[in-house]
Subunit: 338 residues, 2 copies
DNA sequence: CTGAAAGCGCTTACAG
DNA sequence: CTGAAAGCGCTTACAG
């Protein structure tokens, strides 16, 4: 039989360890060991087996391995909204570390729906060695429940007893508020994200704490959605609130608000200062470029995967990692004109 | 230690069909049938089995099922660069259709490297029922080879004998060139993408054909990378080419060029018209907002998954789907000033 | 309508 | 260092 020539249209039969065992004159167990526990058998046979395997185009069947070992070599990544550019860097960082460790990433989008998120989590959980929950919309108990059946690490969410990595809102936000205060802003708004979002809670809390410390007045406005459209639709409320600066839940919302301001002839930052959160792709694109607070998303993705791998190995019981945010001062903030 | 339940820290033993068989007093085969071939056994037993399964929190083990059936219920999605926002909508569309059909998406990023892409493809191929290759950097023979072992559909790439879905560059590009011509542009540039990119070839060809038809002079400039930085770095060459308009390989490059123009005090569109490609997230953000040609990425992602599912079912042998692009006229194009 | 049995491809004690 | 055997959780002809 020749190697590449005359295969049936679909479904050349893949070689198994039995095929390479036969080709080498050893037992399947020996083939398995040669391929997976290098050094446990004579260098000569190992070499012969490897060559035969290569010759036959043998690929290990991960499903078959998963059965006896219970390890799939696969990690599940669940995000609340894949459409949000904020997750790109995270996904990328996660993917990189997963690959470096020979793990495969499976991912799913739960579209801001906690029901869908739970479904996805349960469905994925049987197929993976561990789960990464990003910006989960589940409640603490549900997350703890999930974490009790398989290794799990939460990203952008802190849950007692569950490993997690989150940004520390404080450093970036402190600088943002300080800057606004220095510019003379005294009455500001927080344009809030989804109530089910833990990060929204953190950002909200941080803004309120910091602003009150400075003696600033702060009003809260609920954005109808954590999206650009949500930000745009919030414009009337922002306008009505009669503030000189707004801190948005995230860049998407801030960007949407910027668009609305432009449409209504409101000068940013002259009439209104706007601060975003995340520093997503595109935040620097508009004029004025968006001032924002950056979370180390790529780093968080990498750390989260490493942590997950560690708890899979049974190394870590439950660790919480807090990574600092950073203020990115661009063009959408200045002293109020009047 | 902590209070949430009595389970061992990690690894509550999951229930198997044997457990529910025992609980119901039937055989495992019957359980299997009850759960997977509804209607093939008495409604009463089926009901009892379902209840017992729910009671025990039974979840099918996809690995175990994959062994005898050879079907994993999983699709692999390979993109050349996950960081490019252009893939967001595609991924989203694909994810949606996959979920609707009970399939799980596994995805991997090959970072513009054809070696990494081949590695990923081979590694994934054994674990999935089919592969989606997006903007593949492999050559035709390699893709055909991959397609010969398992169902595969290519996106943004047409390969003879291999199913694929691609945008038809023509409608959008024709309008773009027509507009430029009407504006009086006579000497334009194509700012090219990666040579290994099939889409780059298509766009390039289309631009050249269309422009020559109109009697326009067209020069080609190679962008060092298909990224914003690549576009920015191309600025000197664009400047030197002494053209009044440039069509970029994609929006990322166009956006980068826009930034460079701004930095150098070149007025867009007064001094230079810029047209992008893709209409990625953020293309409308800068001032001037980027004029571009939109590919129906979300639709392509959905169609591609449907096609893949169809070839997995053995329905389609090899189909090529061509979806029209659309011109998006924004602010970065106008009549040249001088 | 339902059960007993074989088998999917691999791993891993257990013996030599 | 290597092999024979059992088993992972499921499916599916094959018989009743």
């Amino acid at each position: 039989m020749d190697g590449s020539g005359r295969s049936a249209p679909k479904g050349r039969v893949p070689a198994t360890i039995y095929d390479v065992a036969r080709a080498t004159g050893v037992s399947p167990s020996t083939v398995s060991r040669a391929l997976n526990k290098p050094g446990r058998l004579s260098a000569a046979t190992e070499q012969r087996i490897r060559e035969a395997a290569a010759e036959l185009g043998y690929r290990m069947n991960p499903m078959a391995r998963a059965l006896p070992t219970g390890k799939t070599g696969t990690l599940g990544l669940l995000v609340s909204d894949l459409t949000n550019p904020v997750y790109f860097d995270l996904v990328r960082g996660a993917e990189r570390i997963a690959r470096e460790n020979g793990a495969t990433l499976i991912f799913a989008d739960s579209q801001e729906s906690s029901e869908l998120e739970r479904d996805n989590a349960e469905r994925l959980q049987v197929a993976v060695d561990g789960l990464l929950l990003v910006a989960s919309r589940l409640d603490d108990a549900q997350i703890q429940e999930l974490a009790s059946v398989k290794p799990l690490v939460a990203v952008n969410r802190l849950v007692s007893g569950v490993s997690g990595v989150v940004p520390d809102v404080s450093p970036g936000m402190t600088e943002a508020i300080n800057l606004l205060h220095r510019h003379g802003h005294r009455r500001i708004a927080y344009l809030a994200g989804p109530e089910a979002s833990w990060m929204n809670g953190m950002r909200r809390l941080s803004v309120f704490d910091l602003a009150e410390d400075k003696g600033m007045t702060i009003v809260e406005i609920q954005s109808p959605a954590p999206t650009r459209d949500g930000g745009t639709e919030s414009y009337p409320l922002v306008k009505a609130a009669n503030v000189t600066a707004v801190l948005a839940y995230n860049d998407l919302v801030a960007l949407g608000l910027l668009r609305a301001c432009r449409a209504h002839g409101v000068d940013v930052p002259g009439d209104l200062s706007v601060v975003g959160f995340d520093d997503i792709f595109g935040a620097d694109l508009p004029t004025p470029a968006l001032t924002t607070v950056r979370s180390p998303m790529s780093d968080m993705g990498m750390r989260a995967v490493r942590m997950l791998l560690a708890v899979i190995e049974g190394e870590a019981e439950s660790t919480q990692l807090i990574l600092p945010t950073e203020f990115v001062n661009r063009e959408s903030t200045a002293a109020p004109r009047r």
